[in-house]
């Protein structure tokens, strides 16, 4: 069988400053990250002919408008769009960019996520504690007090517990493993060692979700430059895109359907693995979009690393911690690293693929990076590698 050609290459990665303090707007941060990524790719802004934007789905469109093009002085773009797949958008940007460079729509596409949830009068918790319309009944969320993702994912944790008998310690094991990984990441915000006692003592936000089950939001932007698979010349090793998939199960809340688990992630993984010609067993590290401990456990199952209902024990056995069977969220993830939505797993995947993980570097032949949106209705997956061919 001939070696598969990569779909595209991620040649540039750029960060703005990441901060827990109020500061520049998302739009300003985005422009900064784009400049960094373009320079990292060994390109000039004049070489960029495609721009994809990803703002937080809880922010209005003016937060990161198409006018970012003009902030950067980009002229005559062949591709410009804001991607609205909720938390799957960052991975979707890479997918659309890969298709654009392959088809000839554009040569060099820059993809940027930016968010500034923390301002002078809004802290990190409040920023995301807004009514998200998931019940289908207009304004019902405010009326009953279903505020933000924590309550929605609390129901995921509770349903998982009701069905599969998970314990607090199972969820805690995920948080402890991510904290251990964060120790090796200079970008991570929470690095002090975390014990099960610390975890169990942390306060509940929406029981069964504790504060240490939740993502750690920051202000910041991350940009990626995507070009054709035959292109090299960046400041770092090229990262090849070998597979991609999406899954949107369209799982309505009715009957025996389980929107908490059977949500499209399995489909996204299956398509991405098949495209890359690999299986879950070939994955060296998994970088999951997991804003809560429960979503990571469900993702392990949906992406084929363990069977339904076995993810909790898989984590509790230490498999996802440093030295475990599967390297998972090696930058500390969203809980101990930083929460920049889909940019968090994607940036760590690129860093690992480049071999720039320093103390936390793991085997990097095949890296899975995922995106997850809404109440887990939207999924996108990428298979990345430093190798031009996976065969």
């Amino acid at each position: 069988m001939p070696a598969r050609r990569p779909l595209a290459v991620i040649l540039g990665l750029g960060f703005s400053k990441l901060s827990r303090q109020p500061g520049p707007s998302a739009r300003t941060l985005a422009a900064y990250a784009v400049r960094e990524a373009v320079a990292d790719a060994g390109l000039a802004l004049a070489d960029i002919d495609g721009l994809l934007l990803n703002r937080s789905p809880v922010e209005p469109s003016a937060t990161l408008p198409l006018g970012v093009q003009d902030d950067l002085g980009l002229r005559d773009l062949g591709l410009l769009a804001s991607i609205e797949g909720e938390g799957s958008s960052a991975a979707q940007m890479i997918q659309i960019a890969a298709m654009a460079v392959e088809s000839g729509l554009a040569k060099h596409v820059v993809c940027v996520f930016a968010d500034a949830p923390i301002s002078h009068n809004v802290n990190a918790g409040k920023a995301f504690a807004i009514p998200i319309p998931i019940t289908g009944i207009p304004n019902w969320e405010e009326e009953i007090g279903l505020l933000g993702a924590t309550a929605a994912f609390g129901l995921v944790a509770a349903r998982y517990t009701a069905r599969y008998g998970a314990t607090d310690e199972h969820f805690g094991a995920w948080a402890i493993a991510e904290r251990a990984w964060a120790a090796g990441n200079e970008l991570a915000f929470l690095k002090s060692p975390l014990t099960m006692e610390d975890y169990l003592a942390s306060r509940y936000i929406v029981k069964p979700i504790r504060v240490l089950d939740c993502a750690y939001p920051v202000n910041g932007a991350v940009a990626f430059v995507v070009t054709r698979g035959n292109r090299e010349g960046g400041k770092s090793a090229p990262v090849f895109v070998h597979g991609m998939g999406q899954g949107h199960a369209g799982c309505p809340a009715i009957g025996a359907l389980e929107p908490e688990f059977d949500n499209g992630a399995e489909q996204a993984g299956r398509i991405a693995y098949a495209m890359a010609g690999i299986g879950a067993n070939d994955v060296s590290s998994a970088q999951f979009y997991s804003p809560f401990t429960c979503s990571g456990i469900v993702a392990l199952e949906n992406y084929g690393f363990c069977r339904r209902g076995e993810g909790a024990a898989f984590v509790a056995d230490g498999n996802t911690a440093p030295g475990g069977a599967l390297a998972v969220n090696t930058g500390g993830g969203m809980l101990s690293g930083y929460y920049l939505q889909g940019a968090t797993p994607l940036a760590e995947a690129v860093i690992q693929a480049r071999g720039q993980g320093g103390a936390r570097q793991v085997a990097n032949d095949v890296i899975l990076a995922t995106g997850l949106g809404g109440r887990q209705q939207h999924h996108a997956a990428l298979i990345l590698s430093p190798h031009r061919s996976l065969r």
Binding site: E142, G145, A151, A162, R163, R203, P252
Partner: protein, 123 residues
């Protein structure tokens, strides 16, 4: 029974139902299938003619959470929210009142109406 397509935009049959002491769900006028609360078109026959009809108010507890933090003054903590699978099929997320504690998700519930609000309680 009122068809959504024939009523004023500001009408609110679901909350009218709560005030009248009944739980309402959406049903397709054409195929009579119950539709989820998120549906705006019948997922079975694609008719846009969904109507509100009275449900039994009975269902099964799928799972629940207890909100421990007051995010807005109008909705003070603590309170419980449950995902309930109604007898007719749709899942609803609503207030839940019961002795706190975990369970196996098989508790039978019924809707309770009090002062124009809806909550679910064990039967």
């Amino acid at each position: 029974m009122t068809s959504q397509s024939e009523t004023r935009v500001d009408s609110d049959p679901f909350r009218d139902g709560i005030r009248a002491g009944e739980l309402r769900i959406q049903r397709c006028v054409s195929c009579r299938n119950a539709a989820s609360y998120t549906a705006r078109v019948c997922p079975s026959c694609h008719s846009a003619d969904l109507s509100w009809s009275t449900a039994s108010g009975r269902g099964k507890l799928r799972c629940f959470v207890e909100v421990m933090v007051s995010y807005i003054p109008e909705v003070p903590a603590r309170y419980m929210l449950a995902s309930v699978e109604l007898e007719e099929g749709p899942h609803i997320i609503a207030r839940y009142e019961a002795a706190s504690g975990r369970d196996d998700g098989t508790v039978e519930l019924k809707a309770r109406f009090s002062g124009g609000t809806l909550s679910f309680v064990p039967t």
